[in-house]
Symmetry: C2
Subunit: 158 residues, 2 copies
DNA sequence: TAGAGATAGTTTAAGTTTCAATTATACTGG
DNA sequence: CCAGTATAATTGAAACTTAAACTATCTCTA
């Protein structure tokens, strides 16, 4: 990108270059995905909550947050908005009264079943710019990358 | 991930799986990167602006926004905050009076020169969970992915 | 050359994100 | 048993993001 000015050693340069590419692809995919989701009146994080609950069943706020790599204070707002829309509901946890169960309402479950397959198609369409082999390889590398990060920086990643 | 409940065809499933992995790695990297940047009193997007200006020199709001894949309305706020901090400044563009040049102040340039190399090291450290060969392959795939998306969905990507 | 349409940047409103502080509850070692 | 500590969720403040509306300016064409 920057064809001039600075260089901080091959390794650091490569690393930054890769990070930029990763961020760029992520931003592009996020935009495509969000546009699709918006058509159903949901935001990206709202959809992520519905998707998690739809696939894995009711779970506590904390688990939901961990699944989304999002800090706690945040889930409250997202769930608040979904609750206002009548798509999820909170229920007291009896064994641990600090905790709260979140689950889809009937309406939420209906929405999930309706829009999820369409959204999956949308993502698949985007991914079709890669061959199956490339997608497989990319998937493998991303998995190793993610696991490696979790392992190497357990503290800095909360 | 979801070991049960739903399946929407191998292709869509794989696509979603890859998208989840990509989002996860991005979130992890973003967190590491942001923690590092915060030590210098900057947010991630503020740093991105300083980095662009530091590497490529003064540019207009629009170009800055495009470089960051961010909608226009947004740059205004980020630049506002950087201007308040005395790190960048606006200057009227004489040829086109709708446009504005953004450039680093002396203070902003000093900060850039000081923190950029350290941040590059931080990113390189994170990336070291992959071998050089893997990093090269990942970089290639991400590049192809990103270019492919831009080519296939020019409209949906603004 | 005047008017129509495009463009650069700002503003506004709603949502998301993080961090830090707070509340309520649970756990645990002396 | 109970004081100290840890945990689950919420709240509040500051920043970011988007989309849409708006202002000012430019450009192109009839």
């Amino acid at each position: 990108m920057a064809s001039h000015s600075f260089s901080y050693g091959t390794k650091a340069d490569q690393a930054l270059g890769l990070w930029v590419k990763l961020a760029r692809v992520h931003a592009l995919m996020l935009r495509l995905s969000a546009r699709d989701i918006n058509r159903y009146g949901l935001t990206q994080p709202q959809f992520a909550v519905i998707e998690s609950l739809g696939h894995l069943g009711p779970m506590k706020m904390k688990v939901l947050g961990a699944k989304m790599l999002v800090t706690g204070g945040n889930m409250t707002v997202v769930v608040d908005n979904l609750e206002k829309a009548g798509l999820v509901e909170r229920a007291r946890c009896l064994e641990d009264r600090r905790a709260t169960w979140i689950r889809l309402t009937e309406k939420g479950d209906g929405l999930f079943k309706k829009i999820f397959p369409q959204h999956a198609e949308c993502v698949a369409g985007a991914l079709s710019v890669l061959t199956a082999k490339e997608a497989g390889e990319l998937s493998r590398l991303l998995k190793k990358f993610g696991m490696g990060l979790q392992e190497k920086f357990p503290d800095q990643l909360r």
